[in-house]
Symmetry: C2
Subunit: 335 residues, 2 copies
Amino acid sequence: MSRQWVLARYIRELPQEEDFRLETVQLPPPGEGELRVRTLYASVDPGALSRLGGVASYAPPLGLGEPMTGAAVGEVLESRHEGFAPGDRVVGAWGWREHAVVGARTVRKVEAGAWPVSAELGVFGIPGLTAWFGILELGRPRAGETVLVSSAAGAVGSLSGQLAKRQGARVVGIAGGPVKCRWLLDELGFDAAIDYRAEPDLEAAIRRACPGGVGVFLDNVGGAVLDAALPCMAMRGRVVVSGLVADYGVPPERRAGVKNTPFFITHRLRMEGFVVYDYAERFAEARAELRRGVSDGTLRYREHVEEGLEAAPRLFAGLFHGTNFGRALVRVGQE
Amino acid sequence: MSRQWVLARYIRELPQEEDFRLETVQLPPPGEGELRVRTLYASVDPGALSRLGGVASYAPPLGLGEPMTGAAVGEVLESRHEGFAPGDRVVGAWGWREHAVVGARTVRKVEAGAWPVSAELGVFGIPGLTAWFGILELGRPRAGETVLVSSAAGAVGSLSGQLAKRQGARVVGIAGGPVKCRWLLDELGFDAAIDYRAEPDLEAAIRRACPGGVGVFLDNVGGAVLDAALPCMAMRGRVVVSGLVADYGVPPERRAGVKNTPFFITHRLRMEGFVVYDYAERFAEARAELRRGVSDGTLRYREHVEEGLEAAPRLFAGLFHGTNFGRALVRVGQE
């Protein structure tokens, strides 16, 4: 028997714990080409919200009663695929489940290394890859340019800023609260940090922190944050839209809306959205570079781990209020 | 003595006739390197509104009491520059004035040709060049892609659509009223036309007219029109922002705002604004191509000419209600 969280009701606005239901199920034995895995860590990812409203997004919507999906790392208990053996560590997208039967072709074997296995869900997972391609392929900051990052203490934002810094950019982060801001400055080497909770006028705060204008804005938030940044962009600035957390839980008619569009003309701005899976063929190469950066200490990351599968919905709801600090994970099983 | 329109009060929202004052002035004689010109046509351009609110935009704001600026074409009456002689036709930016004294280096001599001189303010002027670079440099439609154009019966929009058509694109225009829509279909060869006044749901109308999705959206309007188009974009669609007429007269807090930003991620969209003057070094080359297109009948244009300098403010105010049909000009002097 194995426990799993399923979607209990479609989420129209911000998520609540009651949107999920914990079920106990009997898993089938693995078929040919399948694996039975035991979950070690499951990720709790704000981007998942876009699939929980019952309407199509860049991934098909999750149906009611279906197990919550998301990246997870686990240990193979039983293998019916020649490439895997019991004891192997694998990463997949089986979600908030204690155990799962998964197709071997849907998982990636974790390379042995000096990193905790949970890092496969953060710095070496989709957040790290999103930061990598967002900065190096889309934003492409030049040395001396100012790079602004929103949700800067999050998994994508913190890595984006460090990668931009390695390109020689001046890096400014927007985060919530003095603790996160201090971490950006003292641990990650950001040049400036803006505590949006302490700033009644975010646009003015960005302008003060970026006196030469923002060359690249890597935005994970959207909404009012995006609108505040647009007037602060440098001529020919680029906005890379890697996430729009502010919009995920809000129906269009109630969104703040981007009103500073005339700056696209006056400042010749470019805004581009992307989905990191489009770069899947280059994941291995990027991941190798990320591993190198973590090994030599030039890339740092932070995890927010809560104990037990039970914690997942509460942690998920909290993400939209900034209660986490670092990549949000639940520890589901002991290593 | 010469008459000119000056800015009587800053325009915070939509323009009214009373925002301008007609003055009679005595012009100084031209100094060394200057010309005295008599205006034949003055352009009435919605984009000018961005300079009339007393705040900086991509051009410095016009001060109270200053003559209204804008493209004009005229005849040289007196020259103190060796490159010009009385009788030459020149294009400059001296605005809504019967006569002007201008620096010879601020004007361009009109090449003799088979076109009416007024065309220098439209198809061979900034609107034509905006369409040219907007489609060929930014939008770059591929054969078979659908190009959507807003304000499609306007000077920029009508040329953009025709240029996109020449690239092999399928072209859909948004315009106000059945007369303009018929012109797009019957005279310019657009593949479809959407009368936004007859469509309660613009997004649905765009979707019907662009079943394969919009590859390139050349937007002259912004606001609700931009928001309606975003969900209809094809994967990796490009939005070229060449004008935002819907936003010019509206303070940010009262703008509709772009709310469909999540489509930037889901559809990997790119949005880019531009100012055509950035391509000034290539104007002559583009203008030669535009002249060729008009000569061989493959590019058509339409002018909305009203008689007399007096008509300019009323025509300007009407632009924001779509009362013009074609490039708006006033005829100031007889050829």
